[in-house]
Symmetry: C2
């Protein structure tokens, strides 16, 4: 995929009221509409962005029908050669985490899952155990992105709290995430235990990068949430690697409601995102 | 429901390998088997326990088919007169939290949802906004239980960290949860913003109760995870109110694999749980 110039991810957060008129009006149900739209976004991303990220909540709001729609779209994205992140922010005690791992990697076919650290680092290990078993089976690597520093303004209320030892809550989560991934470093010196670190908290970027030198960062907040190319620069390593910039609304809604070639409009927006990010990152080489 | 003697909840964490032989072998699919089993547990709980809690992970592992099965079973539980908690531990930024609220309260028909606080207190507010809108529509109250102090051994790694001001991480989460629920106090002096506080951390029970005097506690860890009646006593208020003890494996697997009347065996175990908890709590009066 020589045309893929940057580590960018197209975020699929489909909301019915914002879909193209033709998709919304031609669908047999709301879940059908967001599935059709998702298939178009997958087509738009091919050859432009290497990764798509499904916001699980947008599909789950339609219950079992919505999850089935997401399941089909995620498998279609993988068949189209895209890497697929399931942004479901799961977090539960060990035995339930095992079930969520099966949900993400087997039922839904995700390459990676976002997970919540609040219950403790060991609750993130079952995902890695299943990833290892599946790697033995099909030769494909899988991984997680732990929530460390999120993009919402309110995240400071917990994540920025200062501990006695001078670290912040997100700092101690970062150290747990690094430790969890320490014996899982791949060929490019990065672990399959990654971290969500937002573009909207540039004041923390340097500290996060040095606290987690082996973590690939999944970087939300770019575009509609206010992050720009300058604010993501410090999240890449000195060689311009180690981060994936993800944008949702600024890409997937880059069309007018009545526009016939809405897929082309999304592709243009995804290419623009890739061009911007290429300016701060090294060239994407896969993996 | 005069026979309901205690604030207990039967946790539905169905795992295929542990289902009764008749259910497992007679089902057309794995999702069908756990749905059939769930319907039996609902039957067993009626008249014995006022509340059932669905562990979402156990259903999600079967993808859309599993979520559809859970959706049908949750609606059946409500129709059977049970209160239904969806234990899905969702947590995401505001716009996605709005979708998860629709998932829980509208698509799935839950009375309450467990939510994760790591992204900040404001990310829990969309659930309350939708609860208020639905109360206006159908007159039924709904609520959330925020994860504060969880039952797994590893939870100390984040939740017990000491902050500069002497509080712990779970302590500051508790204060956010109390603040979020402060203007939502109902007739029984409790808020519809509750908290998950485990029976396995008895050393924190008193501090949690005084930090969150208006929060109903959903108390996991009883039974299979090691908590006993004595360890939950401090989680109730001085009048023996304000907590719901939930047990899963020790109740729903209280049968031999080949036992024909497995529903009766579960009912007996649920009644035993209710009897134990009645010894430390006030009588359940609904709501």
């Amino acid at each position: 995929m020589a045309s893929l110039s940057a580590p960018v991810c197209v975020g699929l957060d489909p909301v019915l009221s914002r879909l193209p008129d033709g998709v919304r009006l031609g669908a047999s149900s709301e879940a059908h509409a967001i599935e059709t739209f998702s298939m178009g976004v997958i087509e738009a991303a091919q050859g432009v962005a290497p990764i798509v990220k499904f916001q699980s909540a947008c599909f789950e709001r339609y219950g079992g029908a919505g999850v089935s729609a997401m399941q089909r779209a995620m498998h279609a994205a993988r068949e189209a050669g895209l890497l697929v992140i399931l942004d479901a922010k799961r977090g539960d005690i060990g035995v339930s985490a095992e079930h969520y791992a099966v949900f993400a990697f087997e039922a839904m076919g995700a390459d990676a899952l976002t997970v919540s650290p609040y219950l403790g680092p060991e609750t993130m290990r079952p995902y890695l155990t299943l990833a290892d078993a599946l790697l033995d089976r099909d030769g494909r690597g899988r991984g997680i992105f732990a929530l460390v520093r999120t993009s919402n303004p309110d995240s400071d209320a917990i994540q920025s709290q200062q501990l006695k030892d001078g670290r912040t809550v997100s700092g101690i989560v970062a150290s747990h995430v690094r430790a969890l991934g320490a014996d899982r470093i791949g060929a490019h010196a990065y672990s399959d235990v990654g971290a969500v670190v937002a573009a909207t908290k540039p004041e923390d970027a340097g500290a996060m990068r040095s606290a987690m030198p082996e973590q690939v960062f999944l970087v939300p907040g770019y575009g509609a949430q206010g992050g720009d190319a300058a604010s993501v620069r410090a999240l890449f390593d000195s060689a311009g690697r180690g981060a994936i910039v993800t944008a949702s609304r600024s890409v997937i809604y880059a069309f007018d409601a009545g526009e016939a070639d809405w897929i082309g409009a999304i592709r243009t927006a995804a290419a623009a995102l890739a061009g911007e990010v290429a300016g701060v990152a090294g060239a994407w080489t896969g993996g």
